[in-house]
């Protein structure tokens, strides 16, 4: 069981969280062409090693988080608010 150190709640079991998705994706503007949205939604790397993911503290503070994690060892390097303003405020 992965444990995540939520910046708002402290270290909690992953059962409290819901996995979001690939945190490295930048979604295009809503009026961007279909091709740009296709790439953002469907083209995913499946890297071995360090990745950025989004997680949602569903049964906690309900904040979306950016988690840096190793897909091999499950080592978690950092957990920050996904909201850039909140992340900056906590730095």
């Amino acid at each position: 069981m992965i444990r995540l150190d939520c910046p708002f709640c402290g270290t909690r079991d992953h059962a409290e969280f819901a996995y979001g998705g690939d945190g490295s994706v930048t979604y295009p503007p809503l009026d961007a062409p279909t091709g740009a949205w296709h790439d953002a939604v469907f083209l995913r790397d499946n890297p071995k090693g360090r990745v950025v993911e989004t997680w949602h503290h569903l049964h906690g503070c309900r904040m979306w988080l950016r988690v840096e994690r190793d897909t091999v060892t499950h080592e978690v390097f950092s957990v920050r608010p996904a909201h850039p303003g909140l992340a900056e405020a906590l730095e």
Binding site: R3, D13, P29, L30, W37, H56, H83
Partner: protein, 982 residues
């Protein structure tokens, strides 16, 4: 084997006799016995039958690695199969029986399969029954399925009860600084070291006594008792009868505590077992080592066991397993048990493969350069054939009479828990064993689990591991500890012996099976495992793996490390499903959500049903009515007079902030920027990929304040989605969202007489006339009892209808006002079934239609999409495949024969074309009182226009039933919506 209880000694309490039943007959033991030691003392040499060949099996070990004494314990619903008698604590009234045998384990009709053993080699069943059957009609899987049923009956382990589990289980949580697994010399020392340094320590022991290996040596008992007392003083939390079955990420361990499995009359308030999730700062693995055996002919005979097990029975349980004992040894660890057995009165001969064995203990004969090639005796060993090493193998070297053959062929550290954490086992050729490799995590091996064989250094190893667990530098003692090196030995074959020699006795995998796997190319360790099932029994290879690897290495002409080892997965020993489920069973499997009107609904005759997690009124039967009569009456009453329906389970989300309108405008396909205050609008939202996510009405309560409603089942998903968008994609939007579902009690009052019903309940000043509250209007209201809330003129039923939202606790009071007024006007309460009828008649979509595969156009809602703004999903809904005209589109369905019916879930197709996926499917069916016949909603290729004048068939091949249908517009009743606006 002629075992007997010794007159004295052991850790059993001879003053406490315990009666138990074995195969229906009464037997006796003492408190402190295991089922195995009691069976042994009662003279039961054969206690099991093997998996495939039904060979008689006796007790082979004294622990969880047991492959012979596998029994069923308990009766009826409490019958638990595949219990290791060697790890089952004895209790008064315990009832156990042999398994995989008929009529019993001593006389088993199935044992004839042993006579045909050469036909039952690895892969036999698949090759014979799945490959090429003798007859053409036998090809394919049908015949194999029939064979398989027979094979499964012939082979296997015990049978689980088919009755519901009557016991309670629970799950629990704990945390600690240091978790120590195993309480042998290393584990005890590790726990004490950490606890005396002020750490919070949990010590886990699967046995019912602390001490591990120390329990088998009476000279250590006093020191052991002192250690245990010191542990208590130091505040160590000791968990007996608890197995650490798995280690997981970030220091999490899974434990199963057997709370009452050893009790004759357990407190009914206690759970049978408890699964613990422990979060540990560091873990010390002091799980010891398991003694190995050797592959040779008849090595599974009753009366063959490990040397350490024999010593344990003699010292801990006071049972001498045999009078004339042969010990086949290749290392120094045989001599302790030899001395113990001789001291207890047995005649002991050690066959030491090595040319220069240690000095013989008193009363022990040692024969150097000898080992064992064959064991004879069907129901217990009677004699063994000796062997001596020659060039390229072994040669027979005469016979020895005996009644117990002990194997001391080296030790395998229990590295399983490390394997769960990606610790690789590395082969140490000098010690002829796998040792745990390094760990990246706070995981430290100690004692025999780290390959330290001698007891004094095991304690030192435990102390060092505890220090490392506390972050101090403490080098681990070197593995090993014998004076003379081990002479590796995995198999003994002499030329003229062809009888079976077992590698994995629990799954009846033989040495020749391993060689067959090699000949057929299954040489990788993972293929070897799957082809022969080596290591796939309930012991997961604890006994057989190393021998199997050694034989494969030999066949390949390589070293053992080149073959590798399979990775162990949790659980270390079997865990019952019930324990893992804990209390999450029955109605506690998931939360139950009740609306604020739940009790009111029940008091007014509601029959309830499940809608997601919610309990909702299904229908309100009157005298003599079933569901079919009730829902048709309710739906008709709504269209003719008025009906009241509890809609509190609808998702409700407050959306507030300066940018709330802009936010909704991006989320919904239709425009929300210009929605006036006091108006509601039906909206549909898409996922990024362009498919419909959810729908509902959103009400503008103020300039910066909206109340969004969602479908009952979509509420959670939509809330998560809005939070994701606001926090990850559009952080610049000044919007907050909050779930308010549970804050409101809401009802729909629908029907031509709905307005007058509500008006009769309002306080003076609340105006819901058509002018004040037109269709899609939203306003504050005040009920006659003073309750304030919101009222919206929205309609799901297609009738003039209002939704009334009041604070949750005011819900029943509102119903007490509304219901008499509705009843006076010929109205009714209506439930989910009638709600479904009304919306199907109108062609309003719900979860049955919006199943995640449906686009706006598929649902007939394409015209809602704004062309003046971009919204979520807009780009990807324009993919060419999603814009095809022949995609299945929402349609209404009438049976051609208006008296006929059809079923939701049916496949739609043109007559005579019942192939493949068909042309569509049926999502909902109801009897329509408005139309006077059965109707349905569904999706069909091209929609109603493509099927104009063409019949379709609703086919239900799995449940049966076929019905010709007409494909019509989904708006089957009051298509222009005059009734709801009126």
């Amino acid at each position: 084997m002629t075992a007997r209880r010794l007159d004295a000694g052991g850790r059993i309490d001879r003053t406490r006799r315990i009666r138990f039943a074995w195969d229906g007959a009464e037997a006796r033991g003492f408190a402190g016995d295991t089922l195995a030691s009691a069976l042994m003392a009662s003279g039961h040499p054969v206690v099991g039958r093997s998996f495939k060949y039904h060979r008689p099996r006796g007790i082979m070990s004294a622990g969880v690695e047991e492959s012979g004494a596998i029994v069923t314990v308990g009766e009826g619903a409490r019958a638990e199969p595949n219990v290791k008698a060697t790890a089952q604590e004895l209790y008064e009234g315990l009832s156990a029986r042999g398994q995989n045998a008929w009529p019993n384990v001593r006389w088993d009709a199935g044992s004839v399969s042993g006579l045909f053993g050469r036909f039952f080699a690895a892969g036999f069943y698949y090759k014979t029954f799945m490959g090429l059957p003798p007859f053409e009609w036998g090809r394919g899987t049908g015949l194999w399925m029939r064979y398989e049923a027979l094979i499964r009956r012939a082979a296997g382990m015990g049978a689980a009860s088919r009755e519901p589990d009557p016991d309670a289980y629970e799950t629990a949580h704990a945390r600690c600084d240091v978790l120590v697994v195993g309480s042998g010399p290393a584990g005890l020392r590790a726990a004490l070291t950490a606890a005396e340094a002020g750490r919070d320590v949990i010590l886990v022991e699967q046995d019912f006594e602390l001490g591990g290996d120390l329990l088998s040596d009476p000279s250590e008992w006093a020191a052991r008792d002192e250690m245990v007392a010191a542990l208590e003083k130091a505040g160590v939390r000791v968990m007996l009868r608890t197995t650490a079955f798995g280690l997981y990420d970030h220091g999490v361990a899974g434990l199963v505590e057997r709370v009452t499995d050893h009790l004759a009359a357990p407190d009914p308030a206690l759970p049978r077992q408890r699964v613990w999730t422990v979060r540990a700062g560091a873990t010390v693995v002091a799980t010891g080592a398991l003694e190995r055996t050797v592959a040779f002919a008849g090595n599974d005979r009753p009366g063959v066991m490990t040397a350490q097990a024999a010593a344990t029975y003699a010292t801990r349980f006071g049972v001498l397993p045999g009078e004339r004992v042969v010990i086949a040894a290749n290392n120094d660890s045989a001599y302790g048990p030899a001395a113990v057995l001789a001291g207890a009165g047995a005649e002991v001969t050690v066959l030491d493969l090595r040319d220069a064995p240690p000095d013989a203990p008193d009363g022990v004969t040692v024969r150097a350069g000898r080992t064992v090639a064959e064991a004879h005796g069907a129901r217990g060993v009677t004699r063994v054939r000796m062997a001596r090493p020659v060039r390229d193998g072994f040669a027979g070297a005469g016979w020895l009479d005996c009644d117990l053959l002990c194997m001391a062929a080296g030790w395998t550290p229990v590295v399983n828990l490390g394997s769960h954490r990606d610790v690789r086992a590395t082969w140490d050729a000098g010690l002829a064993t796998f040792l745990p490799g390094p760990s990246r995590e706070a995981l430290h091996f100690a004692g025999a689990a780290a390959g330290v064989w001698d007891r004094a250094r095991c304690a030192a190893s435990g102390e060092a591991a505890a220090k490392r667990a506390m972050g101090e530098a403490a080098p681990a003692p070197e593995p090993g500890g014998w004076e003379r090196p081990i002479a590796p030995l995995y198999e003994v074959r002499v030329p003229d012996v062809t009888r079976k020699s077992f590698v994995d006795p629990q799954h009846d995998v033989t040495a020749s099976d391993v060689r067959l796997a090699h000949r057929e190319g299954f040489v990788s360790v993972e293929h070897l495992k799957r082809y022969t099932t080596l290591g796939m029994a309930t012991d997961q290879g604890k006994v057989g793996n190393v021998i199997g690897l050694a034989l494969m290495a030999e066949a390949l002409g390589r070293e053992i490390p080149a073959v590798g080892t399979t990775r162990f997965r949790p659980p270390y020993t079997p865990v019952s499903i019930g324990a893992l489920a804990g209390r999450s069973v029955g109605t506690h499997f998931r939360p139950t959500r009740r609306t604020p009107l739940h009790d009111w609904n029940l008091a007014h005759g509601a029959t309830m049903t499940d809608a997601g997690l919610w309990r909702r009124p299904w229908f309100y039967p009157r005298a003599g009515e079933g569901i079919a009569e009730a829902y048709v009456r309710e739906a008709a009453t709504v269209r003719e007079a008025v009906g009241i329906c509890d809609v509190s389970s609808l998702g409700k989300i407050a959306v507030q902030g300066p940018d709330a309108a802009e936010f909704l405008n991006r989320v919904y396909v239709n425009g929300f920027l210009k929605l006036p205050i006091g108006k509601a609008r039906y909206g549909v939202m898409l996922r990024d990929d362009g498919f419909v996510m959810d729908d509902g009405t959103t009400w503008r309560l103020g300039e910066e304040e909206f109340l969004m409603t969602t479908t009952t089942t979509g509420a959670g998903r939509v809330m998560v989605w809005l939070e994701e968008l606001l926090q990850t994609r559009w952080p610049e939007l000044r919007v907050h969202v909050a779930s308010t579902t549970d804050a409101w009690a809401s009802v729909s009052v629908a029907g031509p007489r709905s307005r007058e019903t509500i008006e009769a309940c309002l306080a003076d000043g609340s105006d819901i006339s058509d002018a004040a509250l037109p269709f899609m209007g939203v306003a504050r209201m005040r009920l006659a009892n003073g309750t304030e809330g919101w009222i919206a003129r929205i309609s799901f039923s297609g009738e003039r209808a209002f939704e009334l939202f009041v604070p949750a606790l005011d819900g029943p009071g509102m119903m007490d006002l509304l219901w008499p007024e509705a009843e006076r006007r010929g109205g009714c309460l209506y439930g989910l079934e009638a709600l479904g009828t009304l919306r199907i008649e109108k062609g309003h979509v719900t979860g049955a239609e919006l199943d995640g595969r449906v686009t706006l156009d598929d649902a007939g809602l394409g015209r809602m999409a704004s062309t003046k703004k971009a919204f979520v999903g807009d780009a990807l809904r324009r993919r060419s495949e999603l814009e095809r005209d022949d995609r299945p589109r929402l349609v209404g369905l009438f049976p051609k024969d208006r008296s006929a019916t059809f079923k939701a879930g049916s496949i739609l197709h043109a007559p005579g074309e019942a192939e493949g996926m068909g042309a569509g499917w049926v999502t909902a069916v109801t009897h329509s009182p408005a139309l006077g016949h059965w109707i349905g909603l569904g999706f069909i290729s091209g929609g109603a226009a493509a099927w104009d004048g063409r019949p379709a068939v609703a086919d239900d091949p799995t449940r049966g039933g076929s019905c010709e249908v007409e494909v019509v517009s989904p708006h089957m009743f009051d298509a222009d919506g005059g009734r709801m606006r009126g």
